[in-house]
């Protein structure tokens, strides 16, 4: 190969030159030549910068070399930016007369060898911007004559050697953009001649050494983007020569030392991105040379007390993202300001628009966004005649946009979003020929969009989202040839889209959704070849789409939902970049174009509520990124193509309310991400495939109103995430699988209108999150209602009607206190209704054998006469007892009440002493006990029904009026207490 030939050749040269060197004796430059040729041989030199290094020419003419005046020594080697690679050749250390070594901006690898300490005459060492790794050798401290040392922009790790403090002649020290760690050595303070110190972008930690103040000549100190912490040493204020101080993006804390005002020559101060707190010291006003000041992204508080009248050289001030309060001083700016950029966003500034700024006529960029500013924008805002960027968003400005804004002829970016600005856009806006971006979204503006806006020929972005603009879109909108974004969503705009919009040929995003726009899409849209997002939903657009839309090849997102578009959707399939197509709720007809499958990144395809017919094209199986497929409420027919099984990312599959036929596909079970499956209201037949149990993330499964038959597969129990299961109106038969108890998250379960038989599995009682409904009506279910249904404490609707359920109604159902509707009608139930059911209409229970109790007839009536009427003696006794106890009550009332109260307290404490446990479980347990021990115990639990129907009066007497009366409670307890 070439390179091996070259290296062989150079080896030969080296050998030859060695002989030369020996034979010609002790001439220094010829010795240097010898070493230099060896160096040449070690370096990879694809650009051939070392080609001139040859014994045929005098050494002092070699490229990159500088000889001493007498040509006796090589004193400088400059091979900067020569695409050299390889490691630093050891022969270099023999060039002891070198004063300058510059290998910067190459691709040199390996470490800096300790032997570098032998080049004692070095004054300038430049190795920056290579791929050097390893550490900075301690021996570098031997280079006592060194004035310039720049070895940054490498991959040097480890600490800065302390020996660096020996380099007392050093004027420039550049160690930036490496991976140096540890702290800045205090010995840096020995470098009395240091002018330039750059430590940026390393991993230095620890404090900034106070000794730095000894570097009295220091003009530029940059240590940004490290991990320095602690406070800024006050002694830093002694660096009278300092012009640039950059400590940005460290972890410095504490407050800014007022002593910093001693830096009388400081022009640039950057402390952004630290943890500084406290106020901005007033003393900063002494830094009269300051041009750029950035204190942003700290925790600074207090008011802004800097005055441009002191700091007349200020050009840039950035205080964004702090906790500054108050307003800006009214005398902040007087004449002759140089301030060009003022960024105060994300603070807590309050009050009105700071009028003190209006004198800063030099201002070009003003950012007051994300503060608490309020009030109207001043008409005199046009005094800021040089302003290009005005950012006032996310405040509470109100009032209208002053017409004078039209005089700000340099304005390029106007951000007023998220305020409470009212009124209309002044026609004077049309004078802003430089205006590029106008964001007025989230305000309360009204009126029509002035046609004059289309005179702003530089406009690239318009966002008026969420206002009350009315009228039509200006017909002359097509004049905005540079428009990229037009966002007019959620206004009251009406009328058609002006055809001229098609001439905004650079338009990429068009959002006209949520308006009252009408008419059809203009054919000129074919010119919008850059268009990638078009959202027109919730308008009244109509008519077929222009065929020419097919030529829009860059469309990614289309949302035309909730309009009245008709015709086919073929013209929307020209792009192969679609990621979302939503045409829900229109009148599109024809079939689903198979061409949609060319957009292989399509994630959401929603065509519901249209008049689409034909079958699902099998090509859709190519849409591997498809997450959402909604074809519901159309006239689609045929079978669901098995190719869809390759859409493995499907999460939502909605095919309901069509005319699909065939078996319910078993491959649905392979869709592991499926969360929502709606196949209802079709003509699917056959069994519910057992494989469906594999869709373990399924949340909603709706198969109702089909012709599904066979049993409900027991694998349904594997759907442990399921919230909603609706199988109603099919031909399902057999038992309800008890495995359904594993669907513990079900809150809605509908199995009605099938041929299900056998008993209701008692396991359904374990579905304690059932809430919306449990509907088992219109089946052939038999046996008793399991008492476990009484555990469904959250259930709000229960329908067991039209079955063959028999036996006693379990009294546990009385616990279902959340029930809002109940239908047990048309079964063979008997027994007493729980008292809690008395509020339901009698129709809830009609068509049963022998149910009794409110709201039906009293059980006493139906059970005969033995127990239902008390004898007159008993009545007399009761009346006497009432009178007697009533009189006693007055005497002992307070005593009793307190006793009772104490009793209650004991009950609670004893309850609590049972400790821990799940409340519901415990309640259930208690409730079950109550069932076991019968009614009496139950009554005891309900403390103010204690007396109700049981003891005193037969069941016609009622909880309500007793419970509302304290006296009865007390009376009860008096009895209990044996009075």
């Amino acid at each position: 190969m070439d390179s091996t030939q070259i290296s062989r050749f150079s080896l030969f040269i080296t050998f030859f030159s060695c002989i030369l060197a020996f034979s010609f004796g002790d001439n220094s430059s010829s010795t240097d030549a010898h070493w230099l040729l060896r160096i040449k041989s070690k370096l990879v030199d694809p650009a051939g910068v070392l080609e001139s290094w040859s014994l045929r020419a005098h050494i002092c003419s070699w490229n990159g070399l500088t000889c001493s005046h007498d040509e006796a020594f090589v004193i400088a080697l400059n091979l900067s930016a020569s695409t050299l690679s390889g490691s630093i050749p050891t022969e270099l250390w023999n060039l002891v007369s070198l004063q300058t070594l510059d290998l910067s901006l190459n691709l040199i690898t390996g470490s800096i060898p300790p032997e570098i300490g032998r080049l004692r005459n070095l004054r300038t060492l430049l190795l920056f911007a290579n791929n050097l790794s390893g550490k900075v050798p301690t021996e570098i401290g031997l280079l006592k004559k060194l004035q310039v040392l720049r070895i940054g922009d490498n991959m040097l790790a480890a600490q800065i050697p302390r020996s660096i403090g020996n380099l007392t002649e050093l004027r420039v020290l550049g160690l930036a953009y490496s991976q140096l760690n540890g702290s800045i050595p205090a010995e840096i303070g020995n470098l009395k001649n240091l002018v330039f110190l750059d430590l940026q972008h390393n991993s230095l930690s620890g404090f900034i050494p106070a000794e730095i103040h000894n570097c009295e000549e220091l003009q530029n100190f940059a240590a940004s983007n490290n991990m320095l912490d602690g406070e800024i040493p006050a002694s830093i204020g002694k660096l009278k020569s300092l012009q640039i101080l950059n400590l940005a993006n460290n972890s410095l804390s504490g407050s800014i030392p007022p002593e910093i005002s001693g830096l009388s020559n400081l022009q640039y101060l950057n402390l952004l991105g630290n943890r500084l707190n406290g106020e901005i010291p007033w003393e900063l006003n002494h830094l009269v040379q300051l041009q750029k000041l950035d204190l942003s992204s700290n925790n600074l508080s207090g008011t802004i007390n800097l005055l441009n009248i002191h700091l007349q050289n200020l050009q840039v001030v950035v205080f964004s993202n702090n906790a500054l309060t108050g307003s800006i001083p009214s005398n902040f700016c007087l004449k002759n300001s140089n301030l060009q950029q003022l960024f105060l966003s994300q603070n807590k500034l309050s009050g009105g628009f700071p009028l003190g700024l209006l004198n800063c006529s030099s201002l070009q960029q003003l950012d007051l966004s994300n503060n608490n500013l309020e009030g109207e924008l001043p008409p005199t805002i046009d005094k800021l005649e040089n302003l290009t960027d005005l950012l006032l968003n996310n405040n509470s400005f109100n009032g209208s946009l002053p017409p004078e804004i039209g005089n700000m002829s340099n304005l390029e970016n106007l951000y007023l979003f998220d305020n409470m600005i009212t009124g209309s856009i002044p026609v004077e806006i049309g004078k802003l020929q430089s205006l590029s971006t106008i964001y007025l979204y989230d305000n309360q503006m009204s009126g029509s969009i002035p046609m004059e806006l289309t005179n702003c020929a530089s406009l690239t972005a318009i966002d008026f989202f969420g206002n009350h603009f009315s009228g039509s879109i200006p017909e002359t909108i097509g004049k905005l040839k540079d428009l990229v974004l037009l966002q007019l969503r959620q206004n009251d705009l009406s009328g058609p889209i002006p055809p001229s919009l098609g001439y905004c040929k650079k338009l990429q995003q068009l959002a006209l959704a949520d308006n009252k726009l009408s008419g059809s899409l203009p054919a000129t849209f074919r010119f919008l070849s850059q268009l990638s997002t078009i959202t027109l939903y919730n308008n009244s657009f109509e008519g077929p789409l222009p065929d020419s839309l097919y030529s829009l090849r860059n469309l990614k997102i289309i949302n035309f939902s909730h309009n009245k578009f008709s015709g086919t959707i073929l013209s929307l399939t020209g792009s192969n970049s679609l990621t979302a197509l939503d045409l829900t709720n229109n009148s599109f007809s024809g079939s689903i174009p198979s061409r949609l499958a060319i957009s292989t990144n399509l994630g959401r395809l929603r065509l519901a509520n249209n008049l689409l017919n034909g079958s699902i094209p099998s090509e859709l199986g190519r849409l591997k990124e498809l997450i959402f497929l909604d074809l519901s409420f159309n006239n689609l027919t045929g079978e669901v193509p098995s190719q869809l099984s390759t859409c493995q990312k499907l999460q939502h599959l909605l095919l309901n309310d069509n005319h699909f036929t065939g078996k319910m596909p078993s491959w649905l079970g392979s869709l592991q991400d499926l969360g929502e499956l709606h196949l209802s209201s079709n003509n699917f037949q056959g069994q519910v495939p057992a494989e469906l149990g594999n869709c373990s993330r399924l949340l909603k499964l709706s198969l109702h109103t089909n012709n599904l038959s066979g049993q409900i597969p027991r694998e349904i129990g594997q759907l442990t995430s399921l919230n909603v299961l609706n199988l109603q109106r099919n031909n399902l038969s057999g038992f309800i699988p008890p495995t359904i108890q594993q669907c513990k998250k079900l809150y809605e379960l509908r199995l009605s209108e099938n041929w299900l038989s056998g008993p209701i599995p008692s396991e359904i009682g374990k579905l304690t999150e059932l809430q919306v409904i449990l509907d088992l009506s219109r089946n052939l279910l038999s046996g008793e209602i399991p008492s476990s249904l009484g555990n469904l404490l959250k259930l709000e609707r229960l329908n067991l009607s039209f079955n063959r359920l028999g036996g006693e109604l379990p009294s546990s159902l009385g616990q279902l206190t959340s029930l809002v509707t109940l239908n047990l009608s048309n079964n063979h139930l008997r027994g007493q209704l729980p008292s809690t059911f008395s509020g339901f209409p009698p129709t809830s229970f009609s068509g049963n054998d022998k149910l009794c109790g409110p709201p039906l007839t009293s059980c006493m009536d139906s059970a005969g006469h033995e127990n239902n009427i008390l004898s007159s003696t008993a009545v007399v006794c009761i009346i006497v007892a009432i009178v007697f106890t009533s009189t006693v009550i007055c005497l002992v009332m307070i005593y009793i009440m307190l006793r009772m109260w104490c009793n209650m307290r004991k009950v609670l404490i004893s309850n609590s002493s049972e400790g821990g446990g799940n409340g519901i479980e415990q309640i259930k347990r208690e409730d079950q006990e109550r069932w076991m021990y019968g009614d009496e115990k139950k009554r005891k639990g309900e403390y103010w029904r204690v007396m109700s129907s049981m003891a005193l009066v037969p069941s016609q007497n009622h909880d309500d009026h007793i419970s509302s009366s304290c006296i009865f409670q007390v009376k009860m307890d008096t009895k209990k207490l044996g009075i």
Partner: protein, 214 residues
């Protein structure tokens, strides 16, 4: 040095320029804000894509036909974190089901603005602080289950104005004071209050202050 200055300064300025208006939908934003407060180790909130027009196709969110959120079902979902005031943006919410998770902190008083709320199930979490008095604003509320939390303070008397309240469960908390007897509180049985060490018997108006022992 100059380029550094320009970079750091222009960054501050360019950021808003680079992010043009993303359409805001208050309910979606509220839910997304909730998501940011929650830790979700089992990714039940993975589908909550804030760039969608509305949250109606997010899992565990149910909307009505006007695309307003009416149900939030995150019961038993292994989520932790806190709730924030932004939930009050869900003005049409009927069911807020956050039961059996590991949610902590106070119940935001702003929930009291949810005028359409029918069911509020916060049971089985680690909520602390008091039951917000503002719950008296939940005029449609039928089901309020706050049991199995670390709630303290007394049962706010303001809740007696909730005429639709049908189920009330505050068992297994650390409530104190007495039990109200007015309004719907005439119906609730003892288990609703069980296991509150410092909760005393029913209110005896005029004799013992309702926050007795708090």
């Amino acid at each position: 040095m100059a380029p550094l200055a320009v970079i750091s300064l222009s960054l501050c300025f360019l950021l808003p320029l680079l992010s043009p208006a993303i359409s805001t939908n208050s309910e979606g934003n509220a839910l997304h804000a909730l998501r940011r407060r929650l830790s979700d180790p089992t990714n039940v909130l993975q589908s909550w894509d804030p760039t969608l027009v509305n949250p109606c196709t997010w899992f565990h969110v149910t909307c009505d036909s006007h695309n307003h959120v009416i149900r939030l079902d995150l019961g038993n979902s292994n989520i932790s974190g806190t709730l924030g005031p932004e939930l009050a943006q869900l003005q049409h919410l009927q069911y807020l089901e956050l039961y059996k998770n590991d949610i902590s902190g106070e119940i935001p008083k702003e929930l009291g603005n949810l005028k359409n709320l029918v069911g509020l199930d916060l049971y089985g979490n680690r909520f602390e602080g008091e039951i917000p008095k503002s719950f008296s604003g939940l005029k449609s509320l039928r089901f309020l289950r706050l049991n199995n939390n670390n709630l303290t303070g007394s049962i706010p008397r303001e809740l007696t104005s909730l005429s639709n309240l049908k189920v009330f469960d505050v068992s297994n908390n650390d409530l104190c004071g007495t039990i109200p007897v007015d309004g719907p509180f005439g119906m609730f049985s003892m288990p609703s209050y069980a296991n509150n060490m410092r909760l005393n018997g029913p209110e005896l108006k005029g004799l013992v202050p309702y926050n007795f022992g708090c």
